[in-house]
């Protein structure tokens, strides 16, 4: 599983935020568009794309996109 691809999949769950905003260092919970719905969309995307079941607490414990990527990678 690739970090860049993960970032693209992550960015795809957003409507208003420009894809260029998303890097491995993005603190995603600070984004204006971040909400409970985007959180649930990320969980569903990770399940669909990577076959990994994330919990809300996994999202909570991650700060940057790379943090979340590592959590998914470790659960795979």
């Amino acid at each position: 599983m690739e970090l860049q691809e993960f970032i693209t999949n992550f960015a795809n769950q957003f409507e208003e935020t420009d894809p260029s905003v998303f890097t491995k260092d993005t603190v995603f919970k600070d984004l204006d568009e971040w909400s409970s719905l985007t959180a649930l969309s990320i969980i569903a995307m990770v399940d669909e794309e990577y076959g990994v079941t994330l919990k809300g607490d996994d999202i909570r414990s991650a700060n940057t996109l790379e943090d979340l990527f590592n959590i998914v990678k470790n659960k795979k």
């Binding site: 909400s35 409970s36 719905l37 649930l40 969309s41 969980i43 569903a44 995307m45 399940d47 669909e48 994330l54 919990k55 809300g56 607490d57 999202i59 909570r60």
Partner: protein
């Protein structure tokens, strides 16, 4: 003692009685004097409920109502009923673009098809007697409002509400009443899969005018009312139990 809500001399079947709201309903109905038959998938947890029940001749029957054969089997094991509480249910939290047919099917099987078929068989075989009361545990979701990523659950509960109204009409000549109770969030383990964090639940709790979630017993008391003879003129109704949630 004067008690118009007594369930003495009534036999009542409660599905989904191994946990949460179903467990509370079974226990409270038994305390009101009913002979309660409980059913659920997990024998160990069903026995835990059973151990807390009172009343005459409590009984438990293990059954997975998502399997048609087991619904038929359960029906065969029952002689007569004065009440049926369809409580077994589950939820699946998925944003709509991710909610596939298989996800809908999984939830509809338990929340809609199983209670529908169980009710139908119990009516058709005349095990539900004249004057019987059927209660569905619906929700505020899908009837008065919904929740983020709640399309699957809302659909199932909306379907139950429609079903209950049509059933109420068709079963009126038999003297069988059909009603729904519509709870807001109740303290159970329905979100134990962990997609929703405790923090999010705490935030949600603040949106309730009465500033807390409901207790399973509070749903049980509403069900007792609808099962009792006090509700003899009530059919096709929804009883909202939501701490004021849908007022806003």
């Amino acid at each position: 003692m004067y008690n118009p809500f007594s369930l003495e001399n009534k036999t009542i079947l409660v599905t989904g009685a191994s946990s949460g709201i179903g467990r509370a309903i079974a226990i409270e109905c038994s305390k009101m004097g009913a002979s309660v038959i409980i059913t659920g998938r997990n024998e160990e947890r069903l026995k835990e409920t059973y151990s807390q029940m009172r009343g005459k001749q409590p009984n438990y029957i293990v059954a997975d109502l998502s399997k048609p054969g087991e619904v038929q089997n359960l029906t065969k094991n029952i002689t007569t009923l004065n009440g049926l509480v369809n409580c077994a249910g589950l939820t699946k939290v998925l944003p709509f673009p991710f909610a596939e047919r298989k996800d809908f099917e999984e939830v509809m099987e338990v929340n809609f098809f199983a209670p529908t078929e169980l009710s139908r068989l119990l009516v058709k075989t005349k095990k539900l007697q004249k004057g019987a009361s059927i209660v569905f545990i619906s929700s505020v979701s899908g009837v008065y409002c919904s929740a983020v990523a709640g399309s699957i659950y809302s659909s199932s509960k909306g379907a139950i509400n429609g079903l209950a109204k049509a059933m109420a009409l068709d079963l009126a000549p038999k003297g069988i009443r059909v009603n729904c109770v519509n709870p807001g969030m109740i303290d159970t383990h329905i979100f134990s899969e962990g997609k929703i964090t405790q923090e999010q639940l705490n935030e949600d709790m603040k949106r309730y005018p009465l500033k807390r979630f409901g207790k399973p017993e509070e749903v049980a008391y509403a069900v007792i009312y609808l099962l009792s003879d006090t509700a003899e003129w009530i059919t096709g109704s929804n009883l909202l139990i939501d701490g004021g949630y849908t007022l806003l």
